[in-house]
């Protein structure tokens, strides 16, 4: 128990009473834990987690703005594990039958609301063990980057499989979409799907980029995705789906973040850690 004395946590919970209750229960179960911040929505939780770099995250699943799962996946991408190992993640939920099964399968920790003190105590013990072994790794091996990367990699793997099992196996579309109907002023253009280089979510719209020009459509990305041929269109980020025939190279920067460059379009697109596995060399 070297590090536990100074362990820090962040709570993301949109219902103020529940946030206060969790904080009170935590104070009883783990007096030494220092709660750095309590946030009411996913976006704020994400930016504060990056800023404060706590050891433990308690994320409610249903939150306005970003959900707890979305905030966690964004955090995985934005986190720089050279500075600090990725925090231990605990999801808190009132009732998500399928999610709970998925958590069990991925050995991710979760708490059910109302949070029971005995159950919370178990979670706290697990967290203390994990943080202690992490601290030990850091003191025994000088090159701690390896094990820090490992904790991030493990979380990425868990989250990826979690998302896949919550969304369920996607049935291949009987007839993949052939055209994207996009209105340009008063006229409607049928853009052949083969010509689309990538789709990008942008607020209430989805940007459709071809080599020649850009269109805006209103169909959300999550509705569009199941209609696309999955062997051609790859989701590489929460808001990006790219036509793999236009991918030129995949590269990483110094921080280990992945990007793709495209044939015929300038610039590069970020690849989420969740989807980097699509680019394994053969």
């Amino acid at each position: 128990m070297i590090m536990t004395a100074s362990a820090t946590a962040l709570i993301a919970e949109d219902e103020p009473l529940l946030a206060a209750a969790l904080q009170a229960e935590l104070a009883r179960a783990w007096p030494a834990l220092q709660v750095l911040a309590v946030l009411g929505d996913g976006q704020a939780a994400l930016s504060q987690a990056l800023l404060l770099q706590p050891d433990v995250l308690f994320f409610d699943i249903r939150m306005p703005g970003l959900s707890g799962l979305e905030a966690a996946t964004e955090l995985v991408d934005a986190w720089d594990s050279r500075q600090k190992p990725f925090p231990a993640l605990v999801f808190v939920t009132a009732y998500e039958q399928y999610a709970v099964q998925a958590f069990e399968a991925q050995a991710l920790d979760y708490l059910l609301k109302p949070v029971q003190p005995a159950r919370l105590q178990k979670t706290v013990s697990k967290l203390q063990l994990a943080l202690a072994s992490r601290a030990q790794d850091a003191t025994t091996s000088e090159a701690s980057a390896g094990s820090d990367g490992a904790s991030l990699e493990a979380t990425v793997r868990q989250l990826r499989q979690l998302l896949a099992s919550i969304d369920g196996p996607k049935p291949a579309p009987a007839m993949p979409l052939r055209h994207i109907a996009a209105s340009v002023g008063a006229t409607l253009r049928l853009v052949p799907v083969d010509e689309v280089v990538y789709f990008e979510a942008a607020d209430k719209y989805v940007r459709v980029l071809t080599r020649e020009r850009e269109y805006l459509i209103r169909t959300p990305l999550k509705d569009l995705l199941p209609q696309l041929d999955a062997s051609v269109f790859w989701q590489i980020h929460r808001g990006t789906v790219v036509n793999n025939r236009f991918i030129e190279t995949m590269l990483r920067d110094e921080a280990g973040k992945a990007f793709v460059t495209l044939v015929g379009l300038p610039g590069r697109l970020a690849v989420s850690r969740l989807y980097v596995h699509l680019f394994r060399p053969m």
């Binding site: 219902e15 009411g40 249903r62 609301k113 209430k204």
Partner: protein
Amino acid sequence: MNNCALMKQKPTLKRALQIVAFNTVIALGITAFMQQGLWINLVYSQCIGLSIWALIDFGQYWLVSDLQLQWRRLFLIAPVGAALGYLLGTAAAQRFFPGHDFHHWSSHPNQALGFLIISLVAGGISTYFFMSREQLALARADMARTQREAEAAQRQAAQAQLTLLQSQLEPHMLFNTLANLRALISLDPERAQTMLDHMVAYLRATLGASRATLHPLQTEFDRLGDYLELIKVRMGARLHYTLTLPDDLAGLNVPPLLLQPLVENAIKHGLEPKVAGGGVLVSARQQGSQITLEVQDTGVGLAAGAAVADGFGLAQLRERLQTVYGPTATMNLVADSAGGTRAIVTFFI
């Protein structure tokens, strides 16, 4: 109609074989008691028997569409079919035997009469035989169908009831509310009691809401108030709401929890996804004989919350509206110019 279809499905070949066998038995009987050869009797018997069968079946096909109701018609069809079939079959059989013609019958009137009587009796017996079997099969099929339909209706009703209950007692809402209640008990016992009272009223209304009865609009608004108060404890400052009910409409009877799905939608699809939260306004007004009930929210709006077409609750609401107020009753979702959603219910009293 169903009976008719069923009759046509009866295997005709099997029946024809039974008729042929019956005819053969008659031919053998006649041969045993009369002098003519078996061959001649067999041909006559088959021709007459098959003609009678064809005529009676044909007559039944055209004149009896519902056996259960019109079986008395067979008392006309069977003897007329037998007599005509006798003449037709005799004429047909005579073609096989040169020299046979109707002069033979006129010289042997007793024989002619005897054969006519045999035809009538045979036609009657076979008609009775086939009809009673058909009746039995029909009755069995009818019983099985009635039973299947009753079972299906029962299953559907149970399913609808269950879906309604599940939509009203949504586990996520229930457990979140309980979690809040648990937190309040130690923080603010008095507020916890108030919250529990709202919850009891809400649960009593939800579990007891019968589709058959009506309750006053004032009670409807009170129950919506209970629900919104529960949500307000959870959402805190992110939710504010107003219920506006003119006094002269307070006594108007409406189906219980009619507006509940609309208020739930406003929360679930409008305000819960919005970081800043917002307001819900429930109001009622009257213009002449037209009543308008409205649930307005300042949430994320229709375009973003595409899931609003969360079919069941709204379909159920429209169905209940039209059952009580007739086809002129409507429910429309309108995108509010201010950014939220307006659900507008109108009907005439």
